[in-house]
Symmetry: C2
Subunit: 294 residues, 2 copies
Amino acid sequence: MHPTVGIIGAGAMGMAMALNLQGRGYAVEVRDVLPAVEQAAREAGMVVQSTPRALAAACDIVAIVVVDAKQIDEVLFGAEGLVHAEPRADAQRATVMLCSTIAPQDSAGFAARLADHGIETIDAPISGGPARALTGQMSMMLAAPAALLACWEPLLVDLAHKRFTIGEVPGDAAKAKLVNNLLAGINLVAGAEALALAEKLGLDARKMFELICASSGASWVFEDRMARALTDDYSPPRAAAHILTKDMGLATALAASVQHATPLGDAALARFRETVARGWRELDDAAVIKTYRG
Amino acid sequence: MHPTVGIIGAGAMGMAMALNLQGRGYAVEVRDVLPAVEQAAREAGMVVQSTPRALAAACDIVAIVVVDAKQIDEVLFGAEGLVHAEPRADAQRATVMLCSTIAPQDSAGFAARLADHGIETIDAPISGGPARALTGQMSMMLAAPAALLACWEPLLVDLAHKRFTIGEVPGDAAKAKLVNNLLAGINLVAGAEALALAEKLGLDARKMFELICASSGASWVFEDRMARALTDDYSPPRAAAHILTKDMGLATALAASVQHATPLGDAALARFRETVARGWRELDDAAVIKTYRG
């Protein structure tokens, strides 16, 4: 018997996770603030709940895939928040999975407050994009007590083919996610800096792209994002520029909290902030190359 | 009939190229300033020449794989330089391949001066490391007139499985190489910045390494170099820190010459310069992480 899984925040990633689970035979229920998303969920045959509280009452476990900590705070502890749901008599272990990319102290704080309500927390940020989430091929970083992870192991396997157990303390997976995203963000801006330089030097940009993908400058994010920069087409975004801007801000603040200098992270973040400031926040994050093309 | 190939500068890359060609049935002759290298070449059954001039007189084509433009200037135009060799009556086309990573204006300048001596030039920087060079799996960027490249095509195929023809003008391949190395250098320092941050946050460094290699922060240079940083062992170097420091300096100067800002390149170069300044110039370039570990 599969558990009934609730998804709060059925954006690109949340919806892909929901569809993946549904395809594997799970009952999936969804809560989202956007009517268009609710409609899409209904058309996919999912139950749509009108509040996090109602969702939690109907589900065995709830994955939260909203954008930031402020939204998580609202769906957990707001007037119609998840914690106000009646405990289910037949529930295994009331559990919340925090899948958003947030600051580690927020993950840890939410876990502590949820514990006061008898709810357990899996710090479970995700990575890999909607296409991989849709087939269960995404990756997931995990920080939670081992017994709790063991309890939900079959669900975690179905959600994420690649799972990295970072530790037992909620917040540690958030740290790992931010470190990875810091690096991805730097590699992306670096790729833009290099490709735009090739253009200014009069080199064939597509040829340079292929050369770099086959050489020591290759990176996952260069190949994925600069393919898009070659065609100068950034809409609709696969990942909007303001998302990585937020992640990089969290990552550099985390680094500062342990007195770790991030000269490359700071320089990359400055380019992302410029991208947002120039009105391109909703474009694909590959649009950071526009700050170099002038 | 294979041409007789001369190699000037039989360091890690030059020797690997020489051994690769020898294994494919080419006669290979070598010139190097270091007696130990001469000895190794002799033991491998290669003819060792005592000057570039003598080497050129015995070979159909000469590949130059020394460290920098100053050394190239010496081996080409010095008192015992290559240009002073008697032209061979039976030669196809007297040709020099410039395989070092140098400034594009130097490649172009050497080509022009060689042309005055009736010698043609292939701007042919290489990439991929000695292990790939040894099996002909390295990559090569090429800029030279199409007819000249066609003439040497069989040799180029044997040397480098991956060949990127950038254009017909010597200097353009040097530009492409510097753009790639700029990006590789940034990605390397970025990887060090991220891995050292994970360490300071108390995360398991090896687990983070594996996570990043499977996630959006992945890059070729991260996987290759940070594997070494994990064991904190940088000697002997696969690529000494001062080499990429030199390349990054050339690349940022090239960018400045076309008014292209390189904030990430500048920040990464600063870390490489610090690595050299702290006495680690001969260590593997992965040692740049030591500037972050404090």
